[in-house]
Symmetry: C2
Subunit: 569 residues, 2 copies
């Protein structure tokens, strides 16, 4: 009968490679059936339990190291646990054979002063500390470590931005900088396509596909998965887009992320348009129905994003959409108010406009839009479906009865912040026999008395009883712009009213930091150091040990002292 023996080592720091090797060594000992060496987090304990490696009574904390062995006999299990210190020492002994390695960032920087990048892959709870030091030394940070808090991420990125430096990460798995792959990276040709990615294996998949298609990567900048959240505000993505916009090697930019928060999305797309380079956007799971907007094209999948990027290298901008940009709205007139009679039309408009207009309110429940605070009064950009159930109790649908929409139209037009009104007019049997009869006079009044643009989407066919040509003419004569396709109306509104590119609040990141090959100080996983060397990059491995021997209480005191010191500077 097999026996389980476990040992808990509270709060001590161990390199995760050391733990992996210790587990393998224990499992390889005679009489040992299985072994587990993990930090005692809930997920890790669940894995131990599933593998029969968790004792019934267990009381470790998440910061504790658990060593568990299941032996064929009690003696074998006991003997294995007795080997732990010896096995750990053997690993340390091997390290002793290496060349002299700097023990601090200061030492490393003296040894390799030209290093522009510090690559950090130590455990999350120490990573922000070391990143802070790297930024203070004037270097960019590639932060592989995960389990770094959102607050620390924001603090680090704001500090970096003030200095014109980048923090890629935390939890940044990959990048191609100056021709070398950072952390997990495929070997790909260098070329003209630049990537900005809040998505590690997304970046890798696209880079592989670009390579397979015979093209190459100029730079690929990972931002960490939370960079485009409302809290972090896309600081790194903004810097990266600006950088690739200035990079002469980059001819097409690909931006990959989970759907960003709406505010970050609209400002980032404005920045992307501001580069005047073609930008392929892939927000996993969210594609606007109008897939091309000026120089932006939206992809629906990783492989498609790569394929579009390669195709775009050979294409020039579609002049038809470029011409759509007429003039900027007056600054105090900013908002779009869209009053739809068709629910699906309203929804599709919201699905497109949510990428460009923020804040965007609607009564549609569409992700990325907010419910308006007062259904009787609009704020910011607003899309309303006036045919929704709540408006049609005891009342004819707005496709037949124009009263509700005419009232709301006048109300919106009296708002001095409104820049444009968007209406749909659905023709055909069953609908109002002459929509222009009531709408055109009100539109004419609005266009004469204000700077408001009125956009009308007419849905119908040349066989519809209302006479589509005549209806369109009457709206145009009243001063409206008439569209026959929703995607055109949405693109127009997005280009007219979408955010403009804003100046960066920090100095630009130096293009020289992307020089080839990169020079790197590597702190943490030695396999990354080996990869840099194998790729011909210059890398210096630092022999990092946790401060205060990994003691959390002591570490807290040290941090406090350091911070106070900095504040006095």
């Amino acid at each position: 009968m097999s026996t389980l023996k476990t040992e808990i080592r509270p709060g001590a720091y161990f390199d995760s490679i050391v733990l992996m090797q210790l587990q393998a060594a224990l499992a390889g000992l005679e009489g040992i059936e299985d072994a587990g060496v993990v930090m005692a987090t809930a997920s890790n304990l669940a894995v131990l339990e599933a593998n029969g490696l968790l004792p019934e009574e267990f009381s470790g904390e998440a910061e504790d190291l658990v060593v568990a062995v299941r032996g064929s006999t009690e003696a074998a299990a006991e003997a294995a646990l007795g080997e732990v210190d010896h096995l750990l020492a053997r690993r340390s002994g091997e390290e002793g054979d290496e060349d002299y390695r700097p023990r601090s960032l200061e030492q490393a920087a003296r040894q390799l002063p030209e290093a522009r990048w510090v690559v950090i892959s130590i455990p999350g709870r120490y990573a922000a500390r070391v990143s802070r030091k790297a930024l203070e030394s004037g270097r960019n940070v590639f932060l592989y470590s995960d389990n770094v808090s959102l607050e620390e991420e924001l603090e680090l990125k704001e500090a970096a931005r003030r200095k014109g430096l980048l923090v890629l990460g935390p939890d940044c798995g990959t990048a191609h900088l100056g021709g070398a792959g950072f952390a997990f990276a495929n070997r790909v040709q260098r070329g003209k396509i630049g990537l900005v990615a809040a998505s590690g294996t997304g970046l890798q998949s696209i880079a592989c596909r670009v390579h397979e298609l015979g093209e190459g990567i100029s730079q690929a900048i990972g931002t960490g998965g939370r960079d485009l959240s409302a809290t972090v505000g896309g600081i790194t993505a903004h810097q990266a887009i600006d950088l690739l916009g200035r990079d002469p090697q980059t001819q097409v930019i690909v931006l990959i992320s989970k759907p960003p928060s709406p505010d970050v999305c609209s400002s980032l797309l404005a920045a992307a348009r501001g580069t005047t380079k073609p930008v392929v956007v892939y927000f996993l799971g969210q594609t606007p129905p109008n897939r091309q907007l000026g120089d932006l094209v939206f992809a629906t999948g990783l492989e498609e994003a790569a394929e579009i990027a390669v195709r775009r290298l050979a294409e020039t901008l579609d002049p038809s959409t470029a011409e759509l940009v007429v003039r900027s709205p007056q600054q105090d007139r900013r908002w779009l108010r869209a009053l739809f009679s068709g629910g699906t039309l309203a929804q599709e408009a919201a699905l497109g406009l949510r990428f460009f207009l923020a804040p965007l309110a609607s009564n549609l429940g569409v992700e990325g839009t907010i419910p308006g605070s007062d259904p009787a009064r609009s704020e910011g950009h607003t899309i309303l479906d006036l045919g929704a159930d709540e408006y049609t109790v005891g009342r004819l649908h707005p496709m037949i009865d124009p009263d509700l929409r005419l009232r709301r139209l006048r109300q919106e037009a009296s708002d001095p912040e409104v820049a444009a009104l968007l209406l749909d007019v659905v023709l055909g049997d069953g609908a109002h026999p002459d929509p222009a009869e009531h709408l055109a006079p009100v539109i004419a009044e609005i266009c004469q008395q204000s700077e408001i643009e009125v956009l009308i989407l007419v849905v119908g066919t040349d066989a519809d009883p209302q006479g589509i040509g005549e209806q369109c003419s009457r709206f145009e004569e009243a001063g409206a712009q008439v569209f026959r396709r929703l995607s055109d109306a949405v693109s127009y509104a997005a280009l007219r009213l979408g955010r403009q590119r804003e100046a960066s609040p920090g100095p630009p990141v130096a293009l020289a930091d992307l020089a080839s090959p990169p020079t790197v100080i590597n702190i943490g996983l030695e396999s990354f150091h080996d990869s840099f060397q194998a790729q011909g990059a210059t890398s210096l491995q630092m022999d990092w040990r946790p401060p205060a021997g990994g003691d959390d209480r002591l570490l807290g005191i040290l941090d406090k002292l350091n911070r106070n010191g900095r504040q006095r500077d």
Copy 2:
């Protein structure tokens, strides 16, 4: 100074056209600035308020009619209110000029026994009652009315299905049946494209675009916007797809809806595939990254859906995806278990598979997937990102350390309900130097000892240090199927493990019910009756009045008596 006068008429029924005309007539009286005639719902009261038509103290109920007039003098306002009964009577008098009209469905059915459709546009609270009677008389129902409860919708649709009849709606705004447009419908050519739409203006937009492209519509079946909800289960959409699958005129089917509930989605797509006709699917705001799956193509916008449908008329099925269907999994082996090291790869797989596999669990927070109840044990179809933060505390990423994934792989393989395992292997610098070393033996063991299929997605380039060709060969030798693109792996898994078409629980709807031109009994909006006649369809207008004079209490008693009567049958 203007004066506001209001009158409340509790609980009485008025035709919404009568109310629209009353409001217009009141507003046209001398000395009247504005008038409002609405049911006192919250939305309507907000509109009255915004237009200065709501008194400060107002105590009406949602079922009450409010008549509000703002006169330039008190006398004018008083006089206008005094006209209300007279104006209402004038309207009734006009109706009196018409031919004799049946007052009950029984009378109407005797007058037009060949009618296969009853079109209902009376107020929502009476609509289910009349629909029930129409179904009992063996006729299909086009239910324009909104504000019908979800419970009533389900009850009606289940009753219809038992009889091989359709209920289109509630809140169904449009259809093209037998060459005629129902309710709101554009005049379009007849042709080979059939539509199924839980989306009114979506159906209209696509029909218009198809017409503009020179093609036409065979039949277009609206289902009502809630048909694809978990409660209703897509009853009408299933019947409609089956019907268009059998309709010889229909060569391509387009399915449009807001994103359906996951269970409805997978069963509906199975039914769509079962038609063996090309089906273009547009779920507003949700496009799977693998946009083509056998005969299914997913669109990203209304206009694109129409364009793809027209293109598909000329195309034949892509044989490469057809060949992917190898064999059906054994019935007791049903589930996919996907263990990813790449977070974005996991997410993109979930974004694709959620349409076909249900229930689908994941630790990704992707809409349409559910969180697993136990992170250490899988249930149903499951996609796990093993590189997520919770798994990497004090542990190397699974791209470097295979231990966690190997353990989970063995665990999943021991589940007798598992049909397939999907793994990603990401090559390149930084990753494990030889992933096949640990994975291939376990895969070989699984393939030898069970019927489980192992699918491996290899991400990498021909320049990666691991040697992509050799890695792939070793996985294939072990018995795995190797994919180089995520979309191929996802398509394969969807085709292999996706739901199969299920037999309908009711008799088929008769193709004869789509005969041209349609014959219709119209109950409610007279403009629909006029449209039918203008289009050459046969329509009989019923003179419907609310039962019990619109008295809710009395109506409840009548319903109860009726139900008891039916139960005795």
